[in-house]
């Protein structure tokens, strides 16, 4: 059982990383990663929604008929996102303001509905939670890495503390997001493709 958990977690974090390998949820990924703190915020929000939606979808899977599964996924995901948004507004108002529309937009993150459909609707609750945690953490880690990288190069600061007057502007602009993601994907492929693996 514990081996199963480890496998689920590493699958999400590395082997099948939703951002790096499946290239899902790119809209928020590219839009909010201009700073590290934004990456952390959206990463945690997505992780929470993904874990709970996997748990709920898996727990209700025996009663849900094939024909209505998609509306039910949408209902569950939309409610969870609304809850997370309210919680952010109440306890992390600064973060909520800097993430803006991208918290409600987690609803449209296809990584979440994909995990509900591919995994949670066919597996027991425990495994689904592990899968949600793994995939969520993988997505969050990528958001944080891109955020940190773009903030470091573009704003010349680390987690909000700037050490130089100006950075390399291109990296914070939208094309910079694509370039940074491409570098991350290339880096992962390079590591995976190393001989002997």
């Amino acid at each position: 059982m514990s081996g199963d958990w480890t496998e689920r977690l590493t699958t999400g974090l590395w082997k099948d990383n939703p951002g790096l390998v499946q290239l899902l949820g790119l809209c928020p990924l590219l839009a909010v990663t201009s700073t590290f703190v934004n990456g952390v915020g959206l990463g945690i929000a997505t992780l929470l929604v993904l874990t709970f939606s996997n748990a709920l979808v898996s727990a209700t899977r025996r009663w849900i008929r094939q024909e209505i599964r998609i509306p039910i996924y949408v209902l569950i995901i939309a409610s969870l996102v609304t809850c997370v948004e309210l919680i952010f507004k109440a306890w992390f108002p600064t973060l909520d303001r800097s993430l803006g529309i991208f918290i409600p937009l987690i609803v449209t993150n296809c990584a979440i509905v994909a995990r509900a459909e591919i995994f949670a609707s066919r597996n027991p609750v425990g495994a689904s939670i592990a899968d949600g945690l793994g995939m969520g953490a993988g997505f969050a880690a990528l958001l944080m890495a891109l955020g940190a990288f773009r903030e470091l190069i573009g704003h010349a600061s680390i987690a909000g503390f700037s050490f130089a007057d100006s950075g390399f502007l291109l990296v914070i602009l939208p094309p910079g997001a694509f370039l940074a993601l491409a570098l991350a994907v290339a880096l992962k492929n390079r590591i995976d493709g190393r001989p002997g693996r």
Partner: protein
Amino acid sequence: MSGQGIVRTGLTLAAIAAICTSLVAATYQATHERIAANEKALLEQSLEPALSGLFYDSGVSESRLVLRPPHALPGNDPALIYRVFAGSEPVAALFAVTARDGFSGPIRVLVGVEFDGSVTGIRILQHRETPGLGDRIESTRTDWVFQFEGRSIGDPALTGWAIRGDGGEFDQLTGASVTPRAVIKAIRDTLLYFDANRDAIFAAPATVEDD
């Protein structure tokens, strides 16, 4: 699908919808007071800097005037005016107005005007200007907005309310001239409005929230 099947499916959907709705309702109940308090605190906190240390003892956010368009202030969305008093003496007015002619989309500007007509402070509330160029109008990036403090209509004269490149008296931002031009115009028009309507502004009763 048989008739019975449809009923069962419908009931399942209804049950899940009910559960999800109660989940959201419960979260709302648990958070709405905190959210309202946060919003009020944020408003007071964002108005504060435009008052630059003036003495006042009134709650700023309670004295709000909402002008629905069309109005004579810059922008064609609702303009907000917060009146600031010390006792019953008017001290200053804060205007939240919109510059429509920015480089990318509207720029929401907060203009603080002292009773004598001079600027107490300017802050940019909202904008979508280019990062690294136009966004240097933000007080956290450069001190560009601070050059307006203490200035008024007549200091400089009306033609001086422009960037140096256009023959005016105010600094521009390298690589961005559309943005400063729009902001300066919004400030100038707000000051003109204040000069023409000062007594009416402080005499008007606060707008009652209708939403």
